[in-house]
């Protein structure tokens, strides 16, 4: 759409800027303030400059948490995006079945995150949980997410797939409904197979919603906190200690504000850079 230049549009944007800036800028300034000082107690603080930042960048535990989190986000995208597209393609398009499907599929999205954690904490237990019982006693595999690092990882991953694939599916479903019928009619006349309809019509039309889905899923999985915290508490050992959990251990657990603040600023910057890369990559891929 052709937009006109109108600087008075700022007046329309002002309420948004004020309401977001209130909660964004003041706390951010405080965090910057913490990150360059050592706070020993009320009124006792020492200027340390970039020491916390150097500490943070060189911390091997943090590197481990970073790679662990990156691997997790990568697995999340690898599973949820294709699965979400597949579910969206398979869902009924019309009638009461469509309404029912939408209601059911959106359900996990509206459960508070710590309750999601609670659900899987219960579901995965070998003694009182259906899932854990099934894997242990009927499949005959030994599975215990509180003791085995591999099982804890799988539990958190399966939980995230259960929780968030519906978002990808809903977005794609909406995208699919936006494709006008003539596209399909033309494809039918040309005798296109299902696969080529998907590859040449549906997937390109889904580019916009997929961009949103990938960005949202990446951001949220890279900041995942509540669900693994409830289920595994970051353990066993450090098996599911993702960046946010590590960060809160430092900032809240040890009350190490300087380190925590430097860490969170780097973390914040990192997420922004990665998202920006995704954003431009997907936009470019669509233009070619």
């Amino acid at each position: 759409m052709q937009k006109t230049v109108n600087h008075r549009a700022w007046l329309l944007v002002l309420p948004v800027v004020l309401s977001v800036a209130f909660s964004a800028i003041l706390p951010l300034m405080t965090v910057v303030n913490y990150s360059v000082q050592d706070i020993l107690g009320p009124g006792q603080r020492v200027w340390v400059g970039n020491e916390w930042f150097i500490d943070t960048v060189r911390n091997p535990d943090l590197h481990a948490a970073f790679w662990r989190n990156l691997l997790f986000s990568f697995q999340v995208l690898l599973i949820q995006i294709p699965l979400g597209i597949a579910v969206a393609l398979a869902l009924p398009a019309k009638g009461w079945q469509a309404s029912l499907s939408l209601v059911l599929i959106a359900l996990p999205l509206l459960i508070p995150w710590n309750v999601v954690g609670t659900i899987w904490q219960i579901f995965g237990r070998a003694d009182i949980g259906l899932g854990g019982y099934f894997v242990n006693n009927i499949l005959g595999l030994s599975y215990n997410y509180t003791l085995e690092p591999r099982d804890a990882w799988i539990t958190v991953l399966v939980m995230d797939v259960w929780h968030w694939t519906p978002l990808v599916a809903l977005l794609c479903y909406a995208g699919l409904r936006a494709i006008p019928d003539p596209f399909y009619q033309a494809a039918r006349i040309d005798g296109a197979r299902l696969w080529s309809i998907f590859w040449y019509i549906q997937l390109p039309k889904l580019r916009g919603v997929l961009l949103i889905a990938v960005l949202l899923r990446f951001m949220d999985s890279f900041m995942i906190y509540t669900e693994p915290f409830v289920v595994t508490g970051g353990g066993p050992g450090t098996a599911t200690t993702f960046l946010s959990i590590y960060l809160s251990n430092i900032a809240i657990g040890q009350f190490d504000l300087g380190n925590g603040s430097a860490f969170s600023l780097i973390y914040f910057l990192l997420i922004q850079i990665l998202c920006f890369v995704f954003y431009t990559a997907i936009l470019r891929a669509g233009r070619k």
């Binding site: 759409m1 937009k3 006109t4 549009a9 700022w10 944007v13 309420p15 948004v16 800027v17 309401s19 977001v20 909660s23 964004a24 003041l26 706390p27 951010l28 405080t30 965090v31 579910v87 869902l91 009924p92 309404s99 499907s101 939408l102 209601v103 059911l104 959106a106 359900l107 996990p108 999205l109 509206l110 459960i111 995150w113 710590n114 309750v115 609670t118 219960i122 003694d127 009182i128 899932g131 519906p166 977005l171 479903y173 909406a174 409904r177 936006a178 919603v209 951001m219 906190y225 509540t226 960060l247 900032a251 603040s261 860490f263 969170s264 973390y267 914040f268 997420i271 922004q272 998202c275």
Partner: protein
């Protein structure tokens, strides 16, 4: 013949997916209807003697049900405020170029990416200083941080789908801007507003970290109240499950009401 086989394959796949999707929720409901003795005594697919005691305990104890009301109060407040401020802004982004518009848009989105854990303490200090600590308004305001950018993003998509000629025709017909905006424009993007409200409600309802930090008693969310189930004698699984089931209900209601908007609504917007 071929297409029939494909449809049934598709139907089966969808059915399997939904069964897997519902299993953990079914299990939660199942547990919420059992006594703790039965839960710990052995695995049963249906409660032997269904009991509503767990629910009764929640509905009769103010410490429990006030958490429930608090959550609903700040979530609704947040939804209304987020959509209200996002509407004019989304209109500006969809219709005009102005100084720094792209930078502003990206800045808004970056606020969704701030790691919560370290921002908690500054948030706590800020809200305590301005007297909004432990109020519904305080939590609603804090949640605007991540909901407003999202609302602007979604609404902008819907508004870009409305041809600009409508604006111009209305201006020629002598509509003032507010009258045009409220009487003509907003009804056109009704479904977009529905979808936006759904998403802001959802993200505010499910967020716990900020809500828990900014409240102690008067505005404490239900999700935070759930830690009460852990006591010296262990976890009260039945009560925990019942509280969990109750946190799912408002969400289920909201989806039920906006279900047609989701299907139709998304189709109009760019989202």
């Amino acid at each position: 013949m071929k297409s029939k086989v494909q449809i049934s394959w598709r139907g089966t796949a969808v059915l399997v997916y939904f069964v897997l999707l519902m299993l953990p929720i079914y299990w939660l409901i199942n547990m919420s209807l059992k006594t703790n003795n039965e839960i710990l005594g052995g695995l049963t697919l249906l409660p032997n003697a269904p009991t509503f005691d767990n629910y009764l305990q929640i509905f009769t104890d103010p410490a429990w049900y006030s958490g429930y009301l608090n959550s609903i109060a700040y979530t609704v407040l947040n939804t209304v405020m987020s959509v209200a401020v996002a509407l004019p802004a989304a209109y500006a982004f969809s219709r005009y170029n102005f100084l720094g518009d792209n930078h502003l848009f990206f800045w808004l989105l970056t606020n969704r990416m701030a790691p919560a854990a370290v921002f908690l303490l500054p948030f706590f200090q800020l809200y305590q200083n301005i007297g909004l600590f432990d109020t519904h308004l305080g939590v609603a305001l804090a949640h605007m941080l991540f909901n407003v950018p999202l609302a602007v993003w979604i609404l902008e998509g819907f508004m870009s789908g409305v041809p600009k000629e409508i604006d111009e025709t209305a201006a020629i017909d002598g509509y003032s801007f507010p009258r045009f905006f409220f009487r003509l424009f907003l009804p056109l993007i009704r479904s977009g507003i529905g979808v936006t409200a759904f998403f802001t409600f959802m993200f505010s309802w499910v967020e716990l970290l900020l809500a828990r930090t900014l409240t102690t008693v008067n505005a404490k969310p239900i999700a935070a109240t759930m830690t009460r189930t852990v006591s010296a004698s262990g976890i009260d699984w039945g009560l925990l499950a019942a509280a969990g089931v109750l946190t799912i209900l408002p969400g289920a209601l909201v989806i039920y009401f906006v279900r047609n908007y989701i299907a139709k609504g998304f189709a109009l917007g760019r989202v």
